[in-house]
């Protein structure tokens, strides 16, 4: 029997048992539905992550540290026990982390494969105040990262790769609400940050001298330490965007200003001119991967924009795998459904099979007829499941985007025709494999037995 005739006969046999075919297909459809959604969600998340990174991060950007355990690399990252180092801090409560010293920074600046080397300054201000307001406020303070594009709600932000001016400052748009001043009004306003120099424990000699000259009041002034006010102009208010990677609730200052302020607030402490990491860019024409390797041999550890992307992709892939796992379980269950249905079909059509064999149909053609029927069931289930997922996903996408605050134009579920076609073909193959034993039973049927009517 020719293939086209076999396919048509198989299709007709199925359409004659509509309810049974449909129910068996539905079992596969459940698996196909889940797998299609998993594929779509995976693709959507990857595209979202990709968009997030490519629109926010300079592909040449590198984050360099002294201690590779920060990135979870190296043997020590897993054992929890590390050799003691003098230039290390354990401020986070865990094992001490090796810090970059000013010497390291100078080494990095001297390298010709790096440019725009900016240590991560630790900044903290005592309080901030605005001209014309009585109240004092506190807020997070961070260093502006020129490699990550900010979005301005009001005012302006520097273009990608450019830093803020030394007396400029960016504040989050949410401040306008707390301050009860319109965002437009805040732009251009003067904001004063007050920093405190860490107080040293005074020596007995100093105490005696102070008491002698200023009395007890002088002693309390000594305890309070020294403070310094820095006046900034608000350049803009940063937007709280879902596709922005910058911290949304911190005041941002320029790098040069940050160094001055950081040095001031850490002067005399263990953390003076020691940095957790360095933001830098691979020099023009150098691949970030090569620079990363070179840094690694120089005793530093670095992460590229691509590493960040891979990290996000790994998370997406794991989540996608979990969802796909459920789909595969559903498929395994449906395989038994196909086997059962096809066995029943063989039993029901014993005489038909007998007749076909009496008319000279080859056993392998009979088997093929049943295998094609199974393939049809797989195809139908795949189309039903994938189609339903596609339609439901497309309809739900705007709602999901809104619920998850993905931002306009972003979709969690992105359906692509090629993976879905592959999925349907795989389902047909799975169905054919499931139909193997029933088909073999049909092929081996003895026509004389099958046609016995007594």
């Amino acid at each position: 029997m020719k293939m086209t005739d076999t396919i048509r006969r198989a299709g007709r046999s199925l359409s004659q048992a509509k309810a049974r075919t449909l129910l068996t297909s539905l079992a596969i459809a459940v698996g196909a539905f889940t797998l299609t959604l998993a594929l779509a969600a995976g693709e959507g998340s990857r595209q979202y992550a990709d968009k997030l990174i490519s629109s926010n991060v300079d592909p040449r950007a590198l984050f360099i540290v002294k201690d590779k355990t920060i990135f979870g690399e190296g043997a020590e990252a897993n054992t929890g026990l590390k050799e003691y180092e003098q230039n290390a801090t354990n401020s986070q409560g865990g094992p001490a982390i090796k810090l970059l010293t000013e010497e390291d920074i100078q080494k990095l600046i001297a390298r010709d494969d790096l440019e725009d080397v900016r240590p991560t300054y630790q900044l903290s201000s005592e309080y901030l105040s605005l001209t014309g307001l009585d109240k004092k406020y506190t807020a997070n303070l961070s260093v502006y990262n020129p490699d990550i594009q900010s979005e301005a709600a009001v005012g302006s932000v520097p273009a990608l790769g450019q830093d803020l001016g030394n007396n400029e400052i960016l504040i989050p748009e949410s401040f306008a609400q707390t301050l009860n001043i319109s965002a437009q009004e805040l732009v251009g306003k003067q904001l004063t940050l007050t920093f405190a120099k860490p107080s040293k424990a005074p020596t007995t000699e100093e105490i005696n001298r102070i008491i002698a000259t200023e009395g007890v009041a002088g002693l309390s002034r000594l305890g309070q330490g020294e403070t310094r006010d820095v006046i900034f102009t608000i350049r803009g208010l940063t937007k709280q965007s879902q596709t922005s990677l910058t911290s949304n609730t911190a005041i941002q200052v320029s790098n040069a200003q940050a160094k001055v302020l950081s040095d001031y607030t850490t002067q005399g402490t263990d953390n003076y001119q020691k940095y957790l990491g360095v933001n830098a860019k691979a020099a023009e024409g150098k691949s970030p991967e090569d620079v990363k390797a070179a840094l690694s041999s120089a005793g530093f550890a670095a992460q590229t924009a691509k590493d960040l992307q891979n990290l996000l992709f790994t998370i997406v892939n794991i989540l996608q795998g979990i969802v796909a796992g459920f789909g595969i379980l559903a498929l395994i269950a449906s395989v038994f459904g196909i086997i059962n249905t096809q066995y029943i079909s063989v039993l029901e059509r014993t005489q038909q099979i007998g007749l076909m064999k009496a008319l000279g149909m080859r056993g392998k053609d009979v088997a093929r007829l049943f295998r094609y029927e199974a393939a049809w069931i797989g195809f139908l289930g795949g189309v039903l499941g994938a189609g339903t997922a596609w339609i439901a996903g497309t309809l739900l996408n705007p709602w999901i985007t809104k619920q998850l605050d993905l931002g306009d134009g972003n979709s969690l579920l992105i359906f692509q025709i090629i993976p879905v076609v592959f999925l349907i073909i795989s389902l047909m193959i799975i169905a054919v494999v499931a139909g193997y034993f029933p088909a073999r039973k049909a092929a081996r049927l003895d026509p004389i037995e099958a046609l016995r009517t007594e």
Partner: protein
Amino acid sequence: MIQIQNITKTYGKKQNVFTALDDVSIDIPDGASVAIIGKSGSGKSTLMHAVSGLDRPEKGQVIIGDKDILRLKPKEVDKFRSQKMSFIFQSFFVEANENCFDNVSLPLEIAEVPTGKRRQMVLDALAAVELTDKAKSKARNLSGGQKQRLAVARAIVNKPEILFADEPTGNLDSTTGEVIEDLLFHYNKENGVTLIIVTHDPDLAAKCDIQVNVKDGRIESVIHSNKKGAA
């Protein structure tokens, strides 16, 4: 010419052995109509199965043309059946859910007749049994007589050389049964097709050129009717 030589077919093993055919020999000339008559269990159906290559007797030869079909490979026997033989059964075995056209088309599909030729062959066969107007009807909506006519159409569509009919009128009343008989004999005479009818109906057997009486796996008697001389 079909030469059946010394065929023996047994079922079961050792003590339970049952001999369905015991050293049966018979020659059937081309274009003859042959009735194989016998009671249930006499071995008449087994004889038909052996001649058609559906069954394989342990001993003997069935020579059709110049080939011993019992020595052919299964693939070749299947091909032989699909091209040169046809069957009609007591219970029709038409596919109730298929329409008449597709029922008749089945042997052509199995014999891999090109699609272009099929349509006319099917329509000719349906015309021969006067079912042209039912071509698109589902077989389940036909009466018993119509179903058997459909089975006859299916049997003659690929222009076989040998037509086997296993109790073709067994499930029909005498009037419709006669219509089927007339169709079969007419086709037998017109086209020179060898017609082998398995039956226990003496009236039907009497219409055949040769009557083979089978009892307990042996041929009891062979009667050549006077309508046509023995070969």
